[in-house]
């Protein structure tokens, strides 16, 4: 059963007709959150309208191949290279980042950065969202990540535990199609149901990983009285591997193919293209288009693309959302647009942790807790790079197959941030633009040509090792997304304004990461080439040492979930405390980011929230007359569990 390019997936709903329909749910955003919500609601027989800000060209093979061609032809092969830049629904780009002068916000690109720290964080505004360019790491969070305040006095506690979320992690692993082996992934308290296996078997470690493991496995680390030995461990991956016949009690697993009419060479097992970011050429990597294709196949999901949500309208007496006003642009290259409205029983904002609060704040909805847009989080990446003593065949495999996860948890977290360490199969690409910069250096200033160039390239590139330390960032209310009428885009939508600083707690983890990288390189006999440039836009000094800090595109925290309306924006079901028929879903609901890439966790949260949405829809059977106000609201509370 392949997810064939479905009849109807290319069908786009006429916005005029959609305006006449009262949908069960209006979903804003066609990324993984919106796709999962739309799929599950439609499976339950509910009618959904999905609004997508970007042009929707990628649900056909032809559309996908246009992305590839754009990538091949692009001079800069950054993580947005394949995707069209559309001024009506602009997106941030990693290459936008500039050093920020104190007191002078950098408004030169879509996200206005008021600093003090600049970030290159990005997200992709096309159908499928940022899963189009995500790398595909699908780590579960640790049980302790949900209880950071209680255990370590840092960050926040979740209103959920790992055990609460565990069944939804399993469900998300099925939807995404995760390749991993339980024996590699059960560590630091991560528990699985008895007999659980991942849908597909783990992808093999790269030759580079194995070269590193020869020396790093067994390396002792003592921290805060806890002894541990490091180990190179494979990461769970959201890409197709070998289906595990033991999955689902022996029923097995059928991988999701490509979104296309053909299953020739695409959509099947990972082929090692080494290009997960920015685009998997064969759709072996999961992208939310696969989920959307299924959702659209149901016939109960209407999709309007080129529809940028402009304002969330609320009934002042009940707090309920009445409609979402959006601007539908006719052409990607011109600002001409029509103002439209979308009506539903429920509204689901699934536009990511920057766009969700941006839309709410632009609608004048700051939240009674005052926390809308606050507690912005991402991971802070520290890179360290070296040359191995032997040729390790760098630049082969998926972008990352293995790393070190032993320092994701432990008592040290009461003092300094934890991290996951990636071994990058693409060498010094992220840190220094390898291998093109190596080529240019060898030719332009190394005097190399012919045979000596070929030797030089092997010597210089195939021995590269880059470690990426993905350091956790705790919630800090002063790290926030706001809006200002001074900064608008082509369609007149207010742009996000980001204030961001890297907390000291994170910087202590960063400093420790650098120390550990020195030890690892020494153990490997590797030549440390790490050097942090004070002119780098993300240069940060801690205890007299300077570091280059990069963003991880792991956006979280801007509408945190919690137990109390006074200390959170949404409840454990991601339902707004202030607006009972509004769900804000995605990374923004996460109170901590821990040391895992956020996609798997936010997918699990969305799958969990769908149950609350369905229960609420069941309990609110009568068409909603918003003008009846309080009486109606009192009888339509949807808290009942299914």
């Amino acid at each position: 059963m392949y997810a064939k390019f479905p009849k109807g997936a290319a069908h786009r709903t006429d916005p005029g007709a959609a305006a006449e329909v009262l949908y069960d749910a209006v979903v804003v955003g066609g990324g993984i959150s919106g796709a999962l919500v739309a799929l599950r609601l439609s499976e339950a027989g509910r009618k959904v309208l999905l609004l997508e800000a970007g042009p929707a060209e990628d649900l056909t093979l032809r559309g996908y191949e246009r992305y590839l061609d754009r990538f091949y032809s692009a001079i800069s092969k950054d993580n947005q290279a394949p995707y069209p830049a559309v001024a009506n629904a602009p997106m941030p780009r990693g290459t936008d980042a500039r050093r920020i002068t104190p007191g002078a916000p950098d408004a030169s690109s879509y996200i206005v950065q008021s600093g003090p720290f600049a970030t290159d964080t990005t997200y992709t505004r096309v159908l499928g969202g940022t899963t189009m360019h995500w790398e595909g790491k699908a780590l579960r969070m640790l049980p302790e990540d949900f209880r950071m305040r209680t255990l370590y006095g840092e960050g926040a506690d979740w209103p959920l535990t790992y055990e609460d979320l565990a069944p939804y992690y399993s469900e998300a692993e099925r939807e995404i199609g995760v390749s991993a082996d339980v024996e590699d992934q059960a560590y630091l308290g991560i528990g699985f149901d008895e007999d659980y296996v991942f849908p597909m078997k783990g992808l093999p470690l790269s030759y580079l990983d194995r070269t590193v493991a020869k020396d790093v496995d067994g390396m002792p680390v003592d921290l805060d009285g806890e002894h541990r030995e490091l180990r190179v461990r494979p990461f769970p991956q959201g890409r197709n591997g070998i289906p595990n016949p033991a999955y689902d009690g022996g029923r097995g697993y059928v991988p999701r193919g490509a979104v296309s009419a053909y299953q020739v060479e695409v959509g099947e097992r990972c082929q090692g293209n080494n290009n997960c970011v920015p685009i998997c050429p064969v759709q072996a990597k999961y992208n939310a288009g696969k989920t959307l294709a299924l959702a659209l196949q149901s016939g109960r999901v209407d999709l309007v693309a080129q529809a940028v949500a402009h304002k969330v309208h609320v009934d002042e007496s009940t707090g309920r959302v009445t409609e979402i006003e959006y601007r539908r642009y006719d052409r990607p290259d011109s600002p001409g647009h029509t103002t439209m409205r979308a009506r539903g029983r429920l509204f689901v904002l699934a536009a990511n942790a920057v766009e969700n609060p941006r839309l709410m704040l632009a609608s004048g909805l700051r939240g009674s807790s005052g926390l809308m847009g606050r507690n912005f989080m991402d991971h802070a990446y520290l890179l360290a790079w070296a040359l191995l003593p032997e040729v390790a065949g760098t630049f082969r495999g998926t972008i990352c197959t293995g790393g070190i996860t032993d320092l994701r948890g432990g008592r040290f977290r009461s003092r300094q941030a934890a991290f996951t360490v990636d071994i990058h199969n693409d060498g010094w690409g992220w840190a220094r633009g390898a291998p093109m910069t190596d080529l240019i250096g060898l030719v332009d200033s190394g005097g190399r040509y012919g045979e000596s160039l070929r030797q030089g390239l092997v010597d210089r590139v195939s021995r590269q090792l880059q470690l990426a330390f993905m350091v956790e960032v705790p919630a800090d209310p002063s790290n926030r997304v706001t809006v200002s009428p001074d900064f608008t885009d082509e369609l007149g939508n207010m742009r996000p304004v980001l204030s961001y600083n890297v907390p000291e707690y994170t910087m202590r983890g960063v400093a420790y990461a650098r120390q550990l990288s020195r030890r690892i390189f020494a153990r490997l006999g590797a030549e440390d080439h790490t050097a942090y440039d004070p002119e780098f836009w993300g240069y940060a000094v801690h205890d007299g040492e300077g570091y280059e800090i990069r963003g991880g595109n792991h956006l979280a925290g801007t509408h945190v979930m919690g137990r109390e309306p006074s200390t959170s924006v949404v409840d454990a079901d991601q339902r707004c405390w202030d607006h009972e028929n509004l769900y804000m879903v995605g990374g923004g609901s996460m109170p901590t980011v821990g040391t895992s890439n956020v996609t798997l966790t936010l997918a699990a949260l969305c799958l969990r929230s769908v149950r609350a949405m369905l229960a609420q829809l069941d309990s609110e059977t009568a068409p909603i007359e918003v003008t009846t106000g309080r009486d109606q609201a009192a009888t339509t509370s949807g808290e009942t569990a299914p």
């Binding site: 590839l68 061609d69 990538f71 091949y72 032809s73 692009a74 001079i75 092969k77 992808l203 093999p204 470690l205 790269s206 030759y207 194995r210 591997g241 070998i242 097992r269 990972c270 082929q271 090692g272 293209n273 080494n274 290009n275 685009i279 050429p281 064969v282 003593p389 032997e390 040729v391 390790a392 065949g393 760098t394 630049f395 082969r396 495999g397 998926t398 197959t401 199969n425 693409d426 291998p435 093109m436 080529l439 240019i440 030719v443 332009d444 005097g447 040509y449 012919g450 045979e451 160039l453 070929r454 030797q455 390239l457 092997v458 010597d459 590139v461 195939s462 021995r463």
Partner: protein, 174 residues
């Protein structure tokens, strides 16, 4: 002035890249690359570069001719290339660009001191040649890898040692 010869361009490219003629022709890019160099630098420069290469081969063959079959004295040839081309203000940057063009599939802008003296053409700016050029970059073959996003080597291939000829491993062992 006659147009720069494709055969001579190919011969120059073999010497600059250390890939065989069949490898270069096999990329399907050779004609497009010559056209790119001509558009970016002008025929006069390209012709002079090809002539200088011919002369360098002649130097290394003891002045008897420039036929590819004449055994070359490698040290003499290296010296002649450095003296006649790589150290030349006008030809050196173009030769280096030809190397990068073959290895990266991308034309890099010539240095400003070159364009100041010899003129800037629109085609001289940093640009890709075609979508296929990136995929045909020799860099990837040199390091035993595929161009990211194309020519996938197959599931699990990354767990094996890279296929790189011993002569390029130099001191480093695998």
């Amino acid at each position: 002035m006659t147009a720069p010869s494709f055969e001579k361009f190919l011969s120059l490219s073999v010497d600059l890249t250390a890939f065989e003629e069949t490898d270069l022709l096999g990329t399907g890019m050779a004609h497009a690359y010559l056209a790119k160099v001509r558009a970016a630098c002008g025929d006069e420069v390209v012709t002079d570069l090809l002539d200088a290469h011919r002369a360098a081969r002649a130097d290394a063959a003891g002045g008897t001719g420039s036929h590819a079959r004449t055994p070359l004295d490698r040290d003499l040839f290296d010296r002649a290339l450095r003296h006649r081309i790589l150290s030349d203000d006008r030809l050196g940057p173009v030769a280096r660009n030809v190397i990068k063009l073959w290895y990266a599939g991308m034309w890099y802008a010539l240095p400003p001191e070159w364009t100041d003296r010899h003129g800037a053409r629109t085609a001289a700016e940093t640009s890709t040649v075609t979508a296929a050029a990136y995929q045909e970059g020799l860099l990837w073959r040199a390091i035993g890898a595929n161009p990211p996003g194309a020519k996938a080597p197959g599931y699990g291939s990354w767990a094996e040692p890279p296929r790189i000829a011993d002569r390029y491993l130099k001191g480093a062992t695998r």
